[in-house]
Symmetry: C2
Subunit: 161 residues, 2 copies
């Protein structure tokens, strides 16, 4: 693990596609469920959401698919807090198949803390407890080596002639 363990799941049969492996979209579902686990860790859980109307929205997501995941696999996800400010979190999630140290996927995500009211959604500052938890996880992340590729502008290089 090169991050903080945050989520683990068996691969469900309905996540397998016609290629016989985990469909690309279900890598993202696993990351989404890992984000829910991160929210619990930060105190932004179901109780907090019901009490305050505040939650996290995803602004942007980058995913590198590095290895096939099969029906028989269990996957473990670790998280690194790369940066945070008063309302945003830049996090990296690394996914591995349990029993294999190779990365199956590396994901970067940008999350925004918002308050939902009946007529609008507006960015809102983190409560102090969540900011403190984020600072602690960011410090812990910085002490661990990163392994996955970083996000980048996508493109095909011209073929070498």
């Amino acid at each position: 693990m090169t991050g903080i363990p945050i989520f683990e799941t068996r691969v469900l049969p309905e996540w397998i596609d016609y290629n016989g492996h985990l469909r690309d979209a279900y890598y993202v579902l696993i990351v989404s469920l890992a984000t829910d686990a991160l929210m619990d860790r930060l105190g932004l859980d179901a109780d907090y959401r019901a009490r305050t109307g505040c939650t996290l929205y995803t602004l942007e997501l980058h995913l590198h698919y590095l290895h096939e995941v099969l029906r028989s696999d269990t996957v473990a996800v670790s998280v690194r807090i790369e940066a945070a400010d008063h309302k945003r979190i830049h996090a990296t999630f690394e996914m591995r198949r349990v029993g294999d140290p190779a990365l199956a996927a590396s994901t970067e995500i940008m999350l925004l803390h918002v308050q939902q009211t009946s007529d609008k959604v507006a960015a809102a500052p983190f409560p102090s407890q969540a900011s403190a938890a984020l600072a602690e996880l960011q410090t812990a992340s910085a002490a661990l080596p990163a392994e996955g590729p970083v996000s980048r502008r996508m493109g095909l290089r011209p073929p070498i002639s």
Copy 2:
């Protein structure tokens, strides 16, 4: 539409999360289903896959979440072929809620044509029919204006003091 219409779907109830809107991962499922529709358009359909053992694998995906999608929405996806070589496709998918011209999401994806055999998966060149179809779609894409943000290295800029 600022691309080639390729896929449309109603939002399913199980795609809605605790925030009352389309879960981030299901934007990607819709893009994944739109990729299947693109494969059909290119002749890389179920019959081709069964006959040749060839298919497309996703290498990388970037998604900008631009607008909430609700339970009552139907979403339409258009595609642009940004670039292609003998084995890869760089495509952009734009998602809109039917009845609203604003973008709900913009996605870039890199796809690799592979052949699956019993003991390995290896990159394989496109059949000439698919290359011709790709060239045609790329020309059609270039004639249409692009709207969504392009992929980039992710990060939080330091706050302005």
